[in-house]
Symmetry: C2
Subunit: 389 residues, 2 copies
């Protein structure tokens, strides 16, 4: 590709780690989000104060070890939003990784550099982390494939803890097939013969999305109907309480803010780090979270989880737009962020796997992702449905 | 009870936190393992260097918030083995919490103070953490009830990360009923009507246990037969590879050591903490873990997980002795530790819930726990089977 590493701003550090042995990923290169440990390098988390407060990692994260043991070559660390606390991909201190398919728009975050490096062709795939959408949103914005696994299936050993009941290691890749192959390695998948029997279209999500997102995804939905039996469902069908995306987002935010403050509050109060204005505002929300509301949020989360899991059963997928609007223009304020969280919180709250596919583009060519969720543990069903591997 | 707080050595700090409101746990008191955050107090993790390197927690852990919102009163922080890295319960720096039912024996660890505080009647229940047996072993040693939930069901937000793919918050309580009531709060359980259809007795585990453990549990197994249909199974029935408890333990240790070093290695290398000799040896194993073996261990773990989950289905339980031998005498070396891990690793590797019940005692009156495992997510099935609530 014509885009240099300097131009893409995708990498924070370039180096090469050779694989331990050949394997199913031999010949493939990958980048690692700078929230994930690589021995001998500081895990910078996209924030200068964090970097200055911490020392070099003493070992590679578990997920990195798995890739090196299966033949892949690591090419460096990729940019992240500060402490992973944004879906935009504009780092106040280090700049904005390039989105080659929409150069005037943000790449999305927080795995901004991982998405950019893959979209620019600088690596074959990249590791990201996804707590509230940090793999899925940048994959959608950059027109590539992004996978968030079932919570707990890929080890987060060696990843900076953020909101542990939501934190996952995810994969960004150029193609469905490559994404599946890498994911099978990290999931240590065994053979499974299951096939998708039905795809459930969440009508409210499409209705709530911007017109240009709906239009961009229409051809993909038509093709989908030729492959799988389709059924339209609504939030009201799924949940036995009055569920809106706003209500779902609120449950998510209470729990995420509470866990984030548990993970990072002491460091913030003691180190008084410099944050960009958006990230500072997010941490202020985490700090001010009313912790007497946590117990109720946990209860609501369990209801959401149980209802979604009942709906999905063993062989169904749920289909939503990955985000309700196009990637925002660079430098614009993040007016829409909360709406995106309503969509991305579904898999987070229910610990479900989600795959975003670059199936749409707007009239001006801006990428639009289409997402599929499967039941907890059905990662292989989901990956195979769109990759044939 | 006649045992003072000073005599029990169960608590590292005494204070009182009132509940936010009344609730299902009103009138009940609890202790919190000193690996779990309480705002305004250092989380000491049983190690003086750790305590001196860290500042006061800025907020309560998620699980503590849930209990305070449901009417319970917190009475203080309880002793832990250093950084939770032992199953013995003898802290080199702070001493050994009292085991009232076997005063010359260790309480078990690492949630030693939580087990002791409950067994001594100083609180109604206590929070512990369980990565490789740290709730189940001390509950068994002290003759009380201990519950390790399905991994991921109770938030570890505000708990010091140790080996994240195994870390859980568990409950220690005097009775099955109380353990279930507290667990339902933390799990935010909804009503479920499932009942146990079959209990599978893992023959190899009973065969491998010491004679006095087998004898102590025989009456309980006879009673069990009057309640549930029983079937004998062997490791060979469950696993399609040559599985021994030793092989299972090795898979567990590789993964646990690898994750522990990811979580704590940088702190240890930089702070050079003083550890007791046993804990120092454990961390040396974590440091020396051959990380090129991680990928293979993850694969074996998935096979163990899939096989165990297939065996258990929706309505079965698996029954094993909690530990293969009686609580060791105080001050003896930990010759048996590795054998215990073979038993306790089953639920850890497969992320299953496990309940240990004080169903046996040796001829000299030493408590012996009997354990039941259920499928992932079947925590309520398991708790209800033995509590009728």
């Amino acid at each position: 590709m014509a885009i240099s590493n300097l131009e893409s701003r995708a990498f924070t550090k370039l180096f090469e780690l050779s694989p331990y042995q050949s394997g199913v990923l031999s010949g493939l290169t990958f980048g690692v989000k700078d929230l994930i440990d690589i021995a001998g390098h500081k895990t910078g988390a996209g924030n200068p104060t964090w970097e200055s407060c911490h020392t070099e990692a003493v070992c590679h994260a578990i997920c990195v070890e798995q890739l090196l043991s299966n033949g892949a070559t690591c090419k460096g660390k990729t940019m992240t939003d500060e402490l992973a606390f944004s879906l935009l991909g504009e780092n106040f201190f280090y700049g904005t990784p390039f989105n080659p398919k929409a150069p005037d728009r943000v790449p999305g975050g927080s795995s901004s550099g991982s998405a950019s490096a893959v979209a620019c062709g600088q690596v074959d795939f990249a590791l990201g982390t996804d707590t509230g959408g940090s793999v899925r949103v940048p994959a959608s914005n950059c027109g590539i494939v992004g996978f968030r696994p079932s919570h707990g299936r890929i080890s987060v050993g060696g990843v900076i803890p953020f909101a542990p009941s939501f934190d996952t290691v995810g994969i960004l890749a150029r193609s469905e097939k490559l994404c599946a192959e890498v994911s099978y390695v990290l999931l240590a998948s065994e053979e499974k013969a299951d096939v998708v029997e039905e795809v459930l279209i969440l009508k409210d999500a499409f209705a709530m999305a911007d017109e240009e997102v709906r239009a961009a995804l229409e051809p993909a939905l038509k093709r989908l109907q030729q492959t799988y039996p389709i059924r339209q469902v609504t939030l009201e069908d799924i949940f036995d309480f009055e569920a809106t995306f706003d209500a779902i987002r609120q449950v998510y935010c209470t729990m995420q803010w509470a866990e984030v403050w548990s993970s990072l509050g002491a460091w913030i109060e003691n180190s008084r780090p410099a944050f960009g204005p958006l990230i500072a505002a997010h941490f202020e929300l985490a700090k001010k979270c009313d912790r007497t509301q946590i117990a109720e949020a946990v209860q609501k989360r369990v209801i959401i989880k149980n209802n979604l899991r009942s709906l999905l059963g063993s062989n169904s997928l749920l289909c939503i737009p990955t985000t309700p609007f196009l990637a925002p223009k660079k430098g614009s304020t993040a007016v829409h962020r909360s709406e995106t969280l309503g969509f991305t919180a579904l898999s987070g709250l229910a610990s479900l796997p989600q795959l975003t596919l670059p199936y749409g583009q707007s009239r001006e060519g801006v990428p639009v992702g289409l997402s599929f969720l499967a039941n907890h543990g059905n990662d292989e069903l989901l990956l195979r449905a769109f990759s044939d591997v």
